[in-house]
Protein backbone atom coordinates (compact mmCIF):
# COMPACT_ATOMS: atom_id res chain seq x y z
CA UNK A 1 0.00 0.00 0.00
CA UNK A 2 2.73 2.41 1.01
CA UNK A 3 6.37 2.12 0.08
CA UNK A 4 9.22 4.32 1.30
CA UNK A 5 10.30 4.56 -2.30
CA UNK A 6 13.31 6.78 -1.82
CA UNK A 7 16.38 6.48 -4.04
CA UNK A 8 19.43 8.61 -4.83
CA UNK A 9 18.57 11.52 -7.12
CA UNK A 10 21.04 10.88 -9.94
CA UNK A 11 20.72 11.71 -13.62
CA UNK A 12 18.78 9.27 -15.79
CA UNK A 13 18.35 8.60 -19.52
CA UNK A 14 18.67 11.42 -22.05
CA UNK A 15 15.30 12.79 -23.06
CA UNK A 16 13.65 11.66 -19.80
CA UNK A 17 12.44 13.84 -16.93
CA UNK A 18 15.61 12.73 -15.11
CA UNK A 19 18.06 13.85 -17.76
CA UNK A 20 18.84 16.74 -15.42
CA UNK A 21 18.35 16.88 -11.67
CA UNK A 22 16.19 20.00 -12.04
CA UNK A 23 14.03 19.38 -15.09
CA UNK A 24 13.21 22.23 -17.44
CA UNK A 25 10.80 21.10 -20.13
CA UNK A 26 8.63 22.39 -22.96
CA UNK A 27 6.03 23.68 -20.49
CA UNK A 28 8.52 26.04 -18.81
CA UNK A 29 7.19 29.39 -19.99
CA UNK A 30 3.51 28.49 -19.60
CA UNK A 31 4.07 27.06 -16.11
CA UNK A 32 5.85 30.23 -15.05
CA UNK A 33 2.98 32.31 -16.41
CA UNK A 34 0.53 30.08 -14.56
CA UNK A 35 2.51 30.64 -11.34
CA UNK A 36 2.46 34.41 -11.84
CA UNK A 37 -1.33 34.33 -12.31
CA UNK A 38 -1.85 32.26 -9.17
CA UNK A 39 0.39 34.57 -7.12
CA UNK A 40 -1.38 37.67 -8.38
CA UNK A 41 -4.65 36.18 -7.18
CA UNK A 42 -3.30 34.74 -3.91
CA UNK A 43 0.10 36.02 -2.69
CA UNK A 44 -0.12 33.74 0.38
CA UNK A 45 1.01 30.85 -1.83
CA UNK A 46 4.54 32.14 -1.34
CA UNK A 47 5.67 32.64 2.26
CA UNK A 48 8.95 32.59 4.12
CA UNK A 49 9.30 32.92 7.89
CA UNK A 50 11.86 35.56 8.92
CA UNK A 51 14.67 33.11 9.76
CA UNK A 52 14.52 31.46 6.31
CA UNK A 53 16.15 34.14 4.14
CA UNK A 54 19.56 32.45 4.15
CA UNK A 55 17.96 29.19 3.01
CA UNK A 56 16.31 31.21 0.23
CA UNK A 57 19.77 32.26 -0.99
CA UNK A 58 20.87 28.63 -0.83
CA UNK A 59 17.91 27.69 -3.02
CA UNK A 60 18.60 30.52 -5.46
CA UNK A 61 22.15 29.25 -5.90
CA UNK A 62 21.03 25.64 -6.33
CA UNK A 63 18.38 26.40 -8.94
CA UNK A 64 20.54 28.83 -10.91
CA UNK A 65 23.42 26.35 -10.98
CA UNK A 66 21.26 23.37 -11.91
CA UNK A 67 19.23 25.15 -14.58
CA UNK A 68 22.33 26.69 -16.15
CA UNK A 69 24.04 23.28 -16.08
CA UNK A 70 21.14 21.41 -17.65
CA UNK A 71 20.00 24.03 -20.16
CA UNK A 72 22.95 26.32 -20.99
CA UNK A 73 21.10 27.49 -24.10
CA UNK A 74 18.39 29.01 -21.86
CA UNK A 75 20.19 30.03 -18.66
CA UNK A 76 23.56 31.59 -17.88
CA UNK A 77 24.99 32.30 -14.45
CA UNK A 78 28.20 34.28 -14.10
CA UNK A 79 29.81 35.02 -10.75
CA UNK A 80 32.51 37.40 -9.64
CA UNK A 81 32.69 37.02 -5.88
CA UNK A 82 29.27 38.06 -4.61
CA UNK A 83 28.49 39.98 -7.83
CA UNK A 84 26.24 37.65 -9.80
CA UNK A 85 24.58 37.97 -13.20
CA UNK A 86 21.66 35.74 -14.16
CA UNK A 87 20.33 35.47 -17.68
CA UNK A 88 17.05 33.64 -18.25
CA UNK A 89 16.39 33.79 -22.00
CA UNK A 90 12.94 32.12 -22.16
CA UNK A 91 11.55 34.71 -19.70
CA UNK A 92 13.65 37.61 -21.00
CA UNK A 93 15.44 38.24 -17.69
CA UNK A 94 18.98 39.63 -17.35
CA UNK A 95 19.62 40.68 -13.74
CA UNK A 96 22.80 41.60 -11.93
CA UNK A 97 22.68 41.45 -8.14
CA UNK A 98 24.74 40.99 -5.02
CA UNK A 99 24.44 37.49 -3.56
CA UNK A 100 23.20 37.82 0.01
CA UNK A 101 21.81 41.34 -0.38
CA UNK A 102 18.01 41.18 -0.68
CA UNK A 103 17.80 44.84 -1.70
CA UNK A 104 19.42 43.97 -5.05
CA UNK A 105 16.59 41.65 -6.19
CA UNK A 106 12.97 42.52 -7.01
CA UNK A 107 11.71 39.76 -4.65
CA UNK A 108 13.15 37.77 -1.76
CA UNK A 109 15.65 35.19 -3.04
CA UNK A 110 13.27 32.21 -2.75
CA UNK A 111 10.42 34.00 -4.51
CA UNK A 112 12.74 35.42 -7.16
CA UNK A 113 14.14 32.07 -8.26
CA UNK A 114 10.99 30.00 -7.81
CA UNK A 115 9.10 32.37 -10.10
CA UNK A 116 11.62 31.04 -12.63
CA UNK A 117 11.62 27.34 -11.77
CA UNK A 118 9.01 24.69 -12.52
CA UNK A 119 7.49 22.82 -9.58
CA UNK A 120 6.57 23.72 -6.03
CA UNK A 121 9.31 24.25 -3.46
CA UNK A 122 9.21 23.75 0.29
CA UNK A 123 12.16 24.78 2.40
CA UNK A 124 12.47 22.87 5.64
CA UNK A 125 14.42 24.11 8.63
CA UNK A 126 16.15 21.36 10.60
CA UNK A 127 16.15 21.70 14.39
CA UNK A 128 15.20 19.69 17.47
CA UNK A 129 15.57 16.48 15.46
CA UNK A 130 12.69 17.51 13.24
CA UNK A 131 12.01 19.31 9.96
CA UNK A 132 9.89 22.46 9.98
CA UNK A 133 7.98 23.74 6.95
CA UNK A 134 9.16 27.32 7.32
CA UNK A 135 9.15 28.60 3.74
CA UNK A 136 7.66 27.67 0.41
CA UNK A 137 6.39 28.52 -3.05
CA UNK A 138 3.33 26.38 -3.60
CA UNK A 139 1.07 27.06 -6.57
CA UNK A 140 0.69 23.61 -8.20
CA UNK A 141 -0.27 21.52 -5.21
CA UNK A 142 -2.46 18.48 -4.71
CA UNK A 143 -4.82 19.82 -2.10
CA UNK A 144 -2.66 21.10 0.76
CA UNK A 145 -2.28 24.65 1.99
CA UNK A 146 1.12 26.25 2.62
CA UNK A 147 -0.61 29.14 4.37
CA UNK A 148 -2.10 26.71 6.87
CA UNK A 149 0.86 24.36 7.23
CA UNK A 150 3.72 26.87 7.36
CA UNK A 151 5.57 26.61 10.67
CA UNK A 152 4.51 22.99 11.28
CA UNK A 153 6.90 20.12 11.87
CA UNK A 154 7.15 17.00 9.69
CA UNK A 155 4.57 15.02 11.65
CA UNK A 156 2.15 17.90 12.00
CA UNK A 157 1.93 18.83 8.32
CA UNK A 158 1.49 15.16 7.42
CA UNK A 159 -1.15 14.72 10.14
CA UNK A 160 -4.11 14.34 7.73
CA UNK A 161 -2.48 11.49 5.73
CA UNK A 162 -4.35 8.25 6.55
CA UNK A 163 -2.74 4.99 7.76
CA UNK A 164 0.89 6.03 7.20
CA UNK A 165 1.54 7.31 10.75
CA UNK A 166 0.49 3.97 12.26
CA UNK A 167 2.79 2.15 9.87
CA UNK A 168 5.79 4.18 10.98
CA UNK A 169 6.28 5.65 7.51
CA UNK A 170 6.88 9.19 8.70
CA UNK A 171 9.28 8.23 11.49
CA UNK A 172 11.44 6.36 8.98
CA UNK A 173 11.16 9.07 6.36
CA UNK A 174 12.15 11.77 8.85
CA UNK A 175 15.17 9.75 9.95
CA UNK A 176 16.25 9.49 6.34
CA UNK A 177 15.64 13.13 5.49
CA UNK A 178 17.43 14.59 8.51
CA UNK A 179 20.51 12.67 7.36
CA UNK A 180 20.53 13.89 3.75
CA UNK A 181 24.04 15.08 2.90
CA UNK A 182 25.07 18.03 0.81
CA UNK A 183 25.70 17.01 -2.80
CA UNK A 184 23.76 13.75 -2.40
CA UNK A 185 20.12 14.53 -3.12
CA UNK A 186 17.43 11.84 -2.97
CA UNK A 187 14.05 11.49 -4.65
CA UNK A 188 10.74 9.72 -4.50
CA UNK A 189 7.57 9.68 -6.56
CA UNK A 190 4.08 10.37 -5.30
CA UNK A 191 0.86 10.26 -7.27
CA UNK A 192 -2.79 11.20 -7.35
CA UNK A 193 -5.31 11.99 -10.05
CA UNK A 194 -6.59 15.30 -11.37
CA UNK A 195 -9.61 16.08 -13.50
CA UNK A 196 -8.61 18.32 -16.41
CA UNK A 197 -4.96 19.37 -16.74
CA UNK A 198 -4.95 21.80 -13.81
CA UNK A 199 -1.75 22.52 -11.93
CA UNK A 200 -3.47 24.51 -9.18
CA UNK A 201 -5.56 22.00 -7.27
CA UNK A 202 -5.18 23.88 -4.00
CA UNK A 203 -7.62 23.68 -1.10
CA UNK A 204 -7.91 27.47 -1.44
CA UNK A 205 -9.60 26.95 -4.82
CA UNK A 206 -11.28 23.61 -4.10
CA UNK A 207 -14.71 25.17 -4.52
CA UNK A 208 -13.63 26.16 -8.04
CA UNK A 209 -12.02 22.92 -9.28
CA UNK A 210 -13.96 20.44 -7.10
CA UNK A 211 -17.04 20.43 -9.38
CA UNK A 212 -14.82 19.03 -12.19
CA UNK A 213 -14.97 15.70 -10.36
CA UNK A 214 -18.70 15.43 -11.08
CA UNK A 215 -18.14 15.77 -14.83
CA UNK A 216 -16.45 12.42 -15.50
CA UNK A 217 -18.50 10.12 -17.77
CA UNK A 218 -17.62 6.85 -19.54
CA UNK A 219 -17.33 8.89 -22.73
CA UNK A 220 -14.87 11.51 -21.50
CA UNK A 221 -12.65 9.53 -19.08
CA UNK A 222 -9.78 9.37 -21.57
CA UNK A 223 -9.65 13.10 -22.02
CA UNK A 224 -10.59 14.41 -18.57
CA UNK A 225 -8.92 12.09 -16.10
CA UNK A 226 -5.20 12.67 -15.59
CA UNK A 227 -2.61 10.74 -13.66
CA UNK A 228 -0.65 13.26 -11.66
CA UNK A 229 2.87 12.19 -10.75
CA UNK A 230 4.98 14.23 -8.37
CA UNK A 231 8.73 13.97 -8.60
CA UNK A 232 9.84 14.96 -5.12
CA UNK A 233 13.52 15.51 -4.48
CA UNK A 234 15.38 16.36 -1.28
CA UNK A 235 18.50 18.49 -1.14
CA UNK A 236 20.66 19.61 1.76
CA UNK A 237 21.32 23.35 1.62
CA UNK A 238 24.91 24.31 2.40
CA UNK A 239 24.71 27.56 4.41
CA UNK A 240 21.42 27.18 6.27
CA UNK A 241 21.59 23.39 6.77
CA UNK A 242 17.95 23.35 5.64
CA UNK A 243 16.44 20.87 3.22
CA UNK A 244 14.76 21.96 0.04
CA UNK A 245 12.00 19.77 -1.18
CA UNK A 246 10.98 20.47 -4.78
CA UNK A 247 7.67 18.89 -5.79
CA UNK A 248 7.45 18.74 -9.55
CA UNK A 249 4.08 17.84 -11.01
CA UNK A 250 3.57 15.97 -14.28
CA UNK A 251 0.12 15.31 -15.73
CA UNK A 252 -0.82 12.71 -18.36
CA UNK A 253 -4.34 12.13 -19.61
CA UNK A 254 -5.73 8.60 -19.73
CA UNK A 255 -5.89 8.57 -23.56
CA UNK A 256 -2.13 9.20 -23.63
CA UNK A 257 -1.30 6.84 -20.78
CA UNK A 258 -3.06 3.85 -22.33
CA UNK A 259 -0.96 4.10 -25.48
CA UNK A 260 1.43 1.97 -23.37
CA UNK A 261 -0.58 -1.26 -22.78
CA UNK A 262 1.51 -2.19 -19.73
CA UNK A 263 0.73 1.16 -18.09
CA UNK A 264 -2.98 0.70 -18.75
CA UNK A 265 -2.97 -2.76 -17.14
CA UNK A 266 -1.05 -1.59 -14.12
CA UNK A 267 -3.10 1.54 -13.52
CA UNK A 268 -6.31 -0.48 -13.77
CA UNK A 269 -5.12 -2.81 -11.01
CA UNK A 270 -3.81 -0.01 -8.81
CA UNK A 271 -7.01 2.02 -8.95
CA UNK A 272 -9.20 -1.05 -8.56
CA UNK A 273 -7.33 -2.37 -5.50
CA UNK A 274 -6.59 0.90 -3.68
CA UNK A 275 -7.78 0.86 -0.04
CA UNK A 276 -10.88 2.97 0.50
CA UNK A 277 -9.11 5.42 2.86
CA UNK A 278 -6.49 6.19 0.24
CA UNK A 279 -9.02 6.57 -2.54
CA UNK A 280 -10.91 9.06 -0.38
CA UNK A 281 -7.75 10.91 0.60
CA UNK A 282 -6.74 11.18 -3.03
CA UNK A 283 -10.25 12.41 -3.90
CA UNK A 284 -11.01 9.62 -6.40
CA UNK A 285 -14.21 8.28 -4.89
CA UNK A 286 -16.69 10.14 -7.05
CA UNK A 287 -15.32 8.86 -10.37
CA UNK A 288 -13.37 5.76 -9.33
CA UNK A 289 -15.94 3.24 -10.57
CA UNK A 290 -16.22 4.94 -13.96
CA UNK A 291 -12.43 4.99 -14.31
CA UNK A 292 -11.96 1.36 -13.24
CA UNK A 293 -14.66 0.22 -15.68
CA UNK A 294 -12.99 2.15 -18.52
CA UNK A 295 -9.48 0.84 -17.70
CA UNK A 296 -10.72 -2.74 -17.20
CA UNK A 297 -11.36 -3.03 -20.93
CA UNK A 298 -7.66 -2.47 -21.50
CA UNK A 299 -6.52 -5.11 -19.00
CA UNK A 300 -6.29 -8.58 -20.55
CA UNK A 301 -4.94 -10.05 -17.33
CA UNK A 302 -1.37 -10.51 -18.57
CA UNK A 303 1.43 -9.76 -16.10
CA UNK A 304 2.97 -6.36 -15.59
CA UNK A 305 6.64 -5.76 -14.93
CA UNK A 306 8.08 -6.03 -11.45
CA UNK A 307 7.15 -2.45 -10.70
CA UNK A 308 9.33 0.05 -8.89
CA UNK A 309 12.48 0.75 -10.83
CA UNK A 310 11.53 -1.59 -13.66
Amino acid sequence: MYAVNIEPHVVGPKGSALENLIDVDEHYVSEMQDRALVLAEDPLRCQSLPHMTLAGWDLLELLMEQQALGSPEHFTLTRDGDKWRWINRPLGIDDSFTFGDVSTLPYGPMEYITRQSQGDFCILDQRDGNLWMDAGMVTTQADWSLDFDIGMNFFEWHAPVPLAHEKGIFTRALKFLTNIQQGKPARRLNWTMTINPRLDTSPENYHKWGPDRTTVTPENVGDKVHLRVELQSFWRLPRSNGIVFPIRCYLIKMDELVTQPIWARRLHRVIRDLPEELANYKGLSRYRATLVEWLSKLDDGSPTSAGFGA
Binding site: M152, P160, P203, H207, P211
Partner: protein
Amino acid sequence: MAAKSIISRPVYGTLSPQPGKHHLFVADADGALAITDLAAKAPDGFFADAHIIFIPGNEGQHVAALEALKPAQFYQGPSFASALPRLKQTLANAHMGLRPYLAGTEGLIGQAMQAALEAGIDHTSIQTEHRGSLARRVQCVHCKGITESVTTQPATCSHCGLLLLVRDHYSRRLAAFQGVCINAEDRSEIPPAEEIFR
Protein backbone atom coordinates in the same frame (compact mmCIF):
# COMPACT_ATOMS: atom_id res chain seq x y z
CA MET B 1 -10.17 15.74 27.24
CA ALA B 2 -10.93 15.55 23.55
CA ALA B 3 -11.02 12.18 21.79
CA LYS B 4 -7.81 10.86 20.21
CA SER B 5 -7.27 12.56 16.94
CA ILE B 6 -4.60 13.49 14.42
CA ILE B 7 -1.07 14.62 15.26
CA SER B 8 -1.48 18.31 14.46
CA ARG B 9 -4.36 18.62 16.93
CA PRO B 10 -3.10 20.11 20.18
CA VAL B 11 -2.84 17.94 23.27
CA TYR B 12 -3.46 19.67 26.58
CA GLY B 13 -2.10 18.72 29.96
CA THR B 14 -2.56 19.74 33.57
CA LEU B 15 -0.99 22.93 34.87
CA SER B 16 1.78 22.37 37.39
CA PRO B 17 4.18 24.82 39.03
CA GLN B 18 7.36 25.19 36.97
CA PRO B 19 10.74 26.49 38.07
CA GLY B 20 11.01 30.08 36.89
CA LYS B 21 11.40 33.71 37.89
CA HIS B 22 8.03 34.95 36.69
CA HIS B 23 4.78 33.12 36.08
CA LEU B 24 2.36 34.43 33.49
CA PHE B 25 -1.15 32.99 33.60
CA VAL B 26 -3.72 33.56 30.87
CA ALA B 27 -7.12 32.00 31.45
CA ASP B 28 -10.76 32.35 30.63
CA ALA B 29 -13.91 31.19 32.44
CA ASP B 30 -13.39 27.76 34.05
CA GLY B 31 -9.69 27.98 33.19
CA ALA B 32 -9.49 29.79 36.56
CA LEU B 33 -10.09 26.41 38.22
CA ALA B 34 -6.93 25.04 36.62
CA ILE B 35 -5.04 27.92 38.26
CA THR B 36 -6.57 27.37 41.70
CA ASP B 37 -5.83 23.62 41.37
CA LEU B 38 -2.22 24.49 40.55
CA ALA B 39 -2.13 26.84 43.54
CA ALA B 40 -2.90 23.92 45.84
CA LYS B 41 0.35 22.26 44.68
CA ALA B 42 2.48 25.41 44.46
CA PRO B 43 5.24 26.30 46.93
CA ASP B 44 4.73 29.22 49.30
CA GLY B 45 5.25 32.60 47.69
CA PHE B 46 4.76 31.21 44.17
CA PHE B 47 2.20 33.86 43.20
CA ALA B 48 4.39 36.72 44.47
CA ASP B 49 6.04 36.54 41.03
CA ALA B 50 2.84 35.85 39.10
CA HIS B 51 0.76 37.88 36.66
CA ILE B 52 -2.76 36.63 35.99
CA ILE B 53 -4.68 37.76 32.92
CA PHE B 54 -8.25 36.57 33.26
CA ILE B 55 -11.29 36.82 31.01
CA PRO B 56 -14.24 35.69 33.16
CA GLY B 57 -16.76 35.59 30.29
CA ASN B 58 -20.53 35.78 30.63
CA GLU B 59 -20.77 33.85 33.87
CA GLY B 60 -18.43 36.28 35.60
CA GLN B 61 -17.21 33.67 38.07
CA HIS B 62 -13.90 32.89 39.78
CA VAL B 63 -12.55 36.46 40.05
CA ALA B 64 -12.46 36.43 43.85
CA ALA B 65 -10.76 33.00 43.91
CA LEU B 66 -7.96 34.25 41.69
CA GLU B 67 -7.54 37.52 43.59
CA ALA B 68 -7.25 35.47 46.76
CA LEU B 69 -4.04 33.95 45.38
CA LYS B 70 -2.54 37.45 45.74
CA PRO B 71 -0.67 37.53 42.44
CA ALA B 72 1.77 40.39 41.91
CA GLN B 73 -0.47 41.55 39.05
CA PHE B 74 -4.09 40.71 38.38
CA TYR B 75 -6.02 41.82 35.33
CA GLN B 76 -9.61 41.10 34.50
CA GLY B 77 -10.77 41.85 30.98
CA PRO B 78 -14.01 41.67 29.01
CA SER B 79 -12.56 39.72 26.06
CA PHE B 80 -9.37 38.15 24.77
CA ALA B 81 -9.03 40.96 22.23
CA SER B 82 -9.05 43.53 25.02
CA ALA B 83 -6.39 41.60 26.94
CA LEU B 84 -4.13 41.07 23.94
CA PRO B 85 -2.21 44.41 23.95
CA ARG B 86 -1.31 43.84 27.62
CA LEU B 87 -0.33 40.24 26.94
CA LYS B 88 1.85 41.27 24.01
CA GLN B 89 3.58 43.95 26.03
CA THR B 90 4.20 41.55 28.89
CA LEU B 91 5.73 39.03 26.50
CA ALA B 92 7.79 41.65 24.70
CA ASN B 93 9.29 42.88 27.98
CA ALA B 94 9.80 39.41 29.42
CA HIS B 95 13.20 38.08 30.43
CA MET B 96 14.57 34.56 30.55
CA GLY B 97 12.76 32.68 33.28
CA LEU B 98 9.21 33.72 32.39
CA ARG B 99 6.90 30.69 32.39
CA PRO B 100 3.56 30.91 30.58
CA TYR B 101 0.52 28.92 31.75
CA LEU B 102 -2.62 28.91 29.60
CA ALA B 103 -5.95 27.51 30.73
CA GLY B 104 -9.52 27.52 29.55
CA THR B 105 -11.19 27.21 26.16
CA GLU B 106 -9.27 26.03 23.12
CA GLY B 107 -9.71 29.43 21.51
CA LEU B 108 -8.13 31.19 24.49
CA ILE B 109 -5.24 28.75 24.75
CA GLY B 110 -4.62 28.90 21.00
CA GLN B 111 -4.60 32.69 20.78
CA ALA B 112 -2.45 33.19 23.87
CA MET B 113 -0.08 30.52 22.51
CA GLN B 114 0.05 32.40 19.22
CA ALA B 115 1.09 35.59 21.02
CA ALA B 116 3.76 33.66 22.95
CA LEU B 117 5.10 32.05 19.76
CA GLU B 118 5.33 35.44 18.11
CA ALA B 119 7.38 36.59 21.08
CA GLY B 120 9.81 33.73 20.44
CA ILE B 121 8.73 31.33 23.19
CA ASP B 122 8.92 27.64 22.23
CA HIS B 123 5.51 25.98 22.33
CA THR B 124 6.85 22.96 24.21
CA SER B 125 7.78 25.17 27.16
CA ILE B 126 4.22 26.44 27.59
CA GLN B 127 1.90 24.75 30.07
CA THR B 128 -1.69 24.31 28.93
CA GLU B 129 -4.87 22.91 30.43
CA HIS B 130 -8.18 22.72 28.67
CA ARG B 131 -11.28 23.60 30.69
CA GLY B 132 -14.72 24.39 29.42
CA SER B 133 -16.05 24.70 25.92
CA LEU B 134 -14.73 22.71 22.94
CA ALA B 135 -15.89 25.44 20.57
CA ARG B 136 -13.33 25.93 17.80
CA ARG B 137 -11.68 28.83 16.01
CA VAL B 138 -11.79 27.90 12.36
CA GLN B 139 -9.83 29.36 9.47
CA CYS B 140 -11.67 29.14 6.16
CA VAL B 141 -9.02 27.84 3.77
CA HIS B 142 -10.81 29.59 0.90
CA CYS B 143 -11.27 33.19 2.07
CA LYS B 144 -8.81 32.99 5.05
CA GLY B 145 -11.36 34.54 7.42
CA ILE B 146 -11.47 33.13 10.95
CA THR B 147 -14.82 32.18 12.46
CA GLU B 148 -14.87 32.16 16.27
CA SER B 149 -16.71 29.79 18.60
CA VAL B 150 -17.73 27.17 16.06
CA THR B 151 -19.80 24.42 17.67
CA THR B 152 -21.31 22.65 14.66
CA GLN B 153 -20.12 20.26 12.00
CA PRO B 154 -20.34 21.44 9.26
CA ALA B 155 -20.24 25.17 9.97
CA THR B 156 -20.88 28.22 7.85
CA CYS B 157 -17.93 30.57 7.29
CA SER B 158 -18.92 33.89 8.84
CA HIS B 159 -16.96 35.75 6.13
CA CYS B 160 -17.62 34.10 2.74
CA GLY B 161 -20.60 31.92 3.63
CA LEU B 162 -19.21 28.61 2.32
CA LEU B 163 -20.31 25.53 4.24
CA LEU B 164 -17.15 24.19 5.91
CA LEU B 165 -16.04 20.78 7.08
CA VAL B 166 -14.21 21.54 10.34
CA ARG B 167 -11.09 19.37 10.27
CA ASP B 168 -8.93 18.30 13.20
CA HIS B 169 -5.92 19.72 11.31
CA TYR B 170 -4.72 22.60 13.49
CA SER B 171 -2.23 25.44 13.00
CA ARG B 172 -0.55 26.90 16.08
CA ARG B 173 0.60 29.84 13.98
CA LEU B 174 -2.98 30.72 13.07
CA ALA B 175 -4.44 29.41 16.35
CA ALA B 176 -7.16 27.78 14.27
CA PHE B 177 -8.56 24.56 12.92
CA GLN B 178 -8.89 24.23 9.17
CA GLY B 179 -12.26 24.59 7.48
CA VAL B 180 -12.69 23.23 3.95
CA CYS B 181 -15.82 23.54 1.83
CA ILE B 182 -17.78 20.35 2.49
CA ASN B 183 -19.84 20.46 -0.68
CA ALA B 184 -17.32 21.98 -3.07
CA GLU B 185 -17.89 19.29 -5.65
CA ASP B 186 -21.67 19.54 -5.64
CA ARG B 187 -23.28 22.50 -3.84
CA SER B 188 -26.66 20.83 -3.86
CA GLU B 189 -25.37 18.38 -1.23
CA ILE B 190 -26.12 20.02 2.12
CA PRO B 191 -25.30 17.77 5.05
CA PRO B 192 -27.22 18.63 8.26
CA ALA B 193 -25.24 20.54 10.89
CA GLU B 194 -24.71 18.75 14.18
CA GLU B 195 -23.58 20.45 17.36
CA ILE B 196 -20.46 18.47 18.26
CA PHE B 197 -17.96 21.02 19.64
CA ARG B 198 -19.54 22.05 22.92
